[in-house]
Symmetry: C2
Subunit: 243 residues, 2 copies
DNA sequence: AAGTGGTCTAGACCACGAT
DNA sequence: TCGTGGTCTAGACCACTTG
């Protein structure tokens, strides 16, 4: 196996593929050392920097690990480790070839209830924006989303916006501070009466519960909410690291 | 802000931090272009390769994106996207400061039932290894795991091994083909009577269901199983991309 | 044609581990 | 001391976008 310098595939990527193949077919077994960077450089006629680039890819993919002063070793596959990616709703639906839409159920200023006030770090009773909506794929409810947002007074929200615009765009215009990052917690729950009605399914049926914390650039809380995904219509698939 | 070449923090990382800070504080806003690589190289007294290394980090973290011939631009934060990592059971428990243990309920050769035979691509009735066990943290059941594995005849399994050894080690010794990768599907369900008994909780209570497919190097199926995590004792937290 | 990012090189110095 | 990976440089050529 050699590097084809006339290929459209860059040499660093060719070498990464060669090594990946050799590892996957057992030419190098878990725990074993790969040839040193200098040896690979010599063998494949590439500069050490290019060899290192190939190795970086395999390291990021979790196939190998480098130890300074010792060498580069094949990792043991972590079979019981998995990475799940929850994509943004519209993007996810599009990827599955479904028509995504959302329905606004409620959007109004309310005095912050105790829990929301604590989460948003505002005094209880402070006016905050409360939004309820359902997310639908192919016209059928998939998720039921509820959020509290710190609200910038003086810029009224038009219902139209909430109905038709992407959520981030609305935040950009109306939130007190721009959310820059989001933290989520994934739990599981059984739907109560109200939630089941919103999702047009039966009470007690299992659902994913995604609690979301929206943070501003200074890490102060901007929004807090929770979104329920119907268990019979939603699942996550583990992603495989790619070289 | 400048690079301190005497610092223990390497220059490429210092520059990545500088740029990250500027982006997060709004010096460069979403959609805007960063200075070109040549300009950054000039401004910070670093070679272009080193500047590129800093930028690669920010690209991987999703903060910026590069467009050939055009420039490097600040990305819009993807607030509704999340990445959840399910760690290997023992590692996860250790990270949470809990004592992990597992209890073998059953491990025997059985004629493959229809579903398992299809999943393992063997003829129905072929002898396969069936394993049932519970995973416990601090002595309390957290998960209930059931697996079918293609079995290599002639190497008897000692119950001791299943009880006390890490699962991958057992596979390594006794499976027909070594699993090299794993694919998982994360669902949600309500526990039936048997499952609730195994998890010492009540039937109907919500749980995560993780279906697992173990694959050999040639991508042929080696194992298939499903693991239930008690909803009241397990949740996943989104991870943040780091530079 | 000029500017941008994408790739590659041949060398250098460093920190660390084994001997 | 020697071999290992970790970092950095100053240049080069390329493909692509824009004017």
């Amino acid at each position: 196996m050699a590097i084809d310098k006339n290929s459209f595939v860059p040499p660093y990527y060719q070498l990464a593929q060669i090594l990946e193949h050799q590892i996957k077919t057992g030419a190098y077994r878990p725990g074993e050392a790969l040839p040193s960077e200098a040896e690979l450089s010599e063998k494949y006629g590439l500069s050490r920097m290019t060899v290192r680039r190939s190795l970086s890819h395999l390291i990021r993919a979790g196939l190998i690990r480098a130890e300074r002063g010792k060498g580069t070793f094949v990792s043991r596959p972590e079979l019981d480790r998995a990475v799940f990616v929850m994509e943004e709703f519209h993007k996810d639906a599009a990827a599955r070839g479904m028509a995504a839409s959302s329905r606004l159920l409620e959007a109004r200023l309310v005095p912050a209830p105790e829990k929301a006030a604590a989460m948003l770090q505002v005094r209880q009773g402070t006016k905050v924006l409360f939004v309820r909506r359902t997310l639908l794929t192919d016209g059928e409810p998939l998720a039921y989303d509820r959020k509290y947002l710190r609200y910038d007074q003086g810029r009224p929200i038009l219902e139209n916006e909430l109905q038709y615009q992407a959520f981030p765009d609305i935040l950009e215009k109306h939130a007190a501070a721009l959310p820059m990052s989001s933290k989520m917690i994934l739990k599981v729950t059984n739907l109560n009466e109200e939630e089941a009605r919103a999702l047009r399914t039966s009470p007690g049926s299992p659902a994913f519960l995604v609690e979301q914390f929206l943070l501003a650039a200074d890490n102060r809380p901007v929004g807090w909410g929770w979104c329920l995904y119907r268990g019979d219509r939603y699942q996550l698939t583990s992603v495989t690291a790619t070289i």
